[in-house]
Amino acid sequence: MDTSITIAPSPLAVDVQRLMKRYGAQLVVRNFSVSVEVGERIALLGPNGAGKTTILRILATLLSPDSGVVRVFGWPIGSNGHEVRQLIGYVAHHSLFYSQLTAAENLTLSAALHALPWSKEDTERLLQSVGLIDAAHRRVAFFSRGMVQRLALARALLGQPRLLLLDEPESGLDPLALGRFEQVLVDIVEKSRATVLFTSHRIEQAQRLSDRVLVIVGGRLVFDNPSQAVSVEMIESAYERSSRGNLAR
């Protein structure tokens, strides 16, 4: 398969306009609009249930929007899902691996699905980059949570994605695993030329790693500012103010 996909001539990596999504009667994303420039790093913050994961899952083509326009590098996700999937790397906050396959086997399978020319050395190089080379031939079922998340990062990078979607990749990690994971994450985010959109509950880390911070509460975008122009306290304050308002409603 020809893996070199034509990038639509859009100056935007992500273009979301008036996005709405409901689960049954509950509206989880309300009129959400955002434009992300190529190469930008966006931190998407918000309390639990704010709609962050839903937005990321829509961008990852795992969910369809109810209404609104969603484009990734110019490709509408509804009609060009296959093209979009060739451009993204996705890390969820739960394991998306065959637990009975080894780390190396999972990566080799992903390479086959991306139709990449792939060798054992490529697998080793990738596992080395996330500090999992010693666990290459261990089944994912026996991995700790931190190891699974580092493997997920390796897989997300495998197709050299132009857009990295990281959904609370550090959630559920113990302090030791968190330190190690953060080191790998920072290294990858800083070295990568990909556009990065990540969700997190760690405001300080999010501000440090991103160019722009978005806060979403109750499915609405309530804060959108460059990271350098705001302080952690300002983000916290927007976060709390909107959460209180949302609760009052």
């Binding site: 034509t6 990038i7 639509a8 110019g74 637990s99 009975q100 699905l113 139709a115 089944r139």
Partner: protein, 241 residues
């Protein structure tokens, strides 16, 4: 808001797309086989469950020796169908420690390749189950099951039932009560295939000499072909959420 013009995707010939899909299907099928072999919980459960059904029938009815062909065929197909459904229910795990489905869906995998890899592993698991259940059934009921036509009937029925079962398993993957929903959807639609398969095995067991034409086997083949093409036609939309 950027109103960008979108280029056409690079033109790929049908042959290239089919070739790439076949490679993806093979990679996925290998992963499924490895995963089932190492996990073992699904095949073991299927075999134990279907054996229990055969044993219960053998105790419940006086089927030994020389049971009527239609009864024996019905007993064996009941065991195979209900054992197979256990496999279908485990085919599309959506979360937890077996959440590989989403990992596959975010990759640029051909949806037909993904669905038919699951069909492939379900056919393999059901055939493996039959390799254990049928000899035991043959021993218990003293039945001459080792005739090419009977084995062909079991294979065609298994292929059709697996194809349809995998399709409905995918469709109900995110339903809240999927364990209840799957049999309710699958069994009524499979009725023509089940009747044809049961009748063919039944007639092959008693026919002396074997019949020259096999309308029930032809019907089972036709239904299997139909289910196959329906699955192929809807594969792209099965995973839309």
């Amino acid at each position: 808001m950027a109103t960008s013009h979108v280029d056409s995707p690079p033109a790929l010939s049908t042959q290239m797309i089919a070739g790439a899909a076949l490679q993806q299907w093979w990679a996925l099928l290998q992963a499924e086989i490895r995963s089932a072999w190492r996990g073992r919980e699904t095949p073991v459960t299927m075999v134990v469950f279907s054996l229990l059904i055969v044993l219960i029938f053998s105790f419940a009815f006086d089927l030994h020796p020389n049971p009527p062909g239609d009864v024996l065929s019905g007993v064996l197909w009941t065991a195979i169908i209900f054992g197979g459904m256990l496999g279908f229910q485990r085919a599309f795990p959506v979360a937890g420690d077996r959440g590989e489905l989403e990992g596959l869906l975010v990759s640029p995998v051909n949806r037909s390749a993904l669905l038919f890899a699951k069909v492939g592993i379900n056919v393999i698991l059901m055939c493996a189950m039959e390799l254990i259940v049928l000899p035991i059934g043959a021993l218990l009921f003293n039945a001459p099951l080792w005739k090419p036509l009977i084995l062909a009937s079991f294979f065609v029925g298994t292929l059709g039932f697996s194809t349809l079962g995998t399709l409905f398993s995918a469709l109900s993957a995110e339903a809240r009560a999927r364990e209840l929903l799957l049999p309710l959807l699958l069994l009524p639609i499979s009725v023509p295939l089940i009747i044809a398969s049961v009748e063919e095995v039944s007639q092959s067991l008693v026919a002396q000499p074997p019949a020259l034409s096999h309308p029930w086997l032809q019907l089972a083949c036709a239904y299997t072909g139909l289910f196959f093409f329906i699955t192929l036609a809807v594969a792209d939309n099965v995973f839309d959420r």
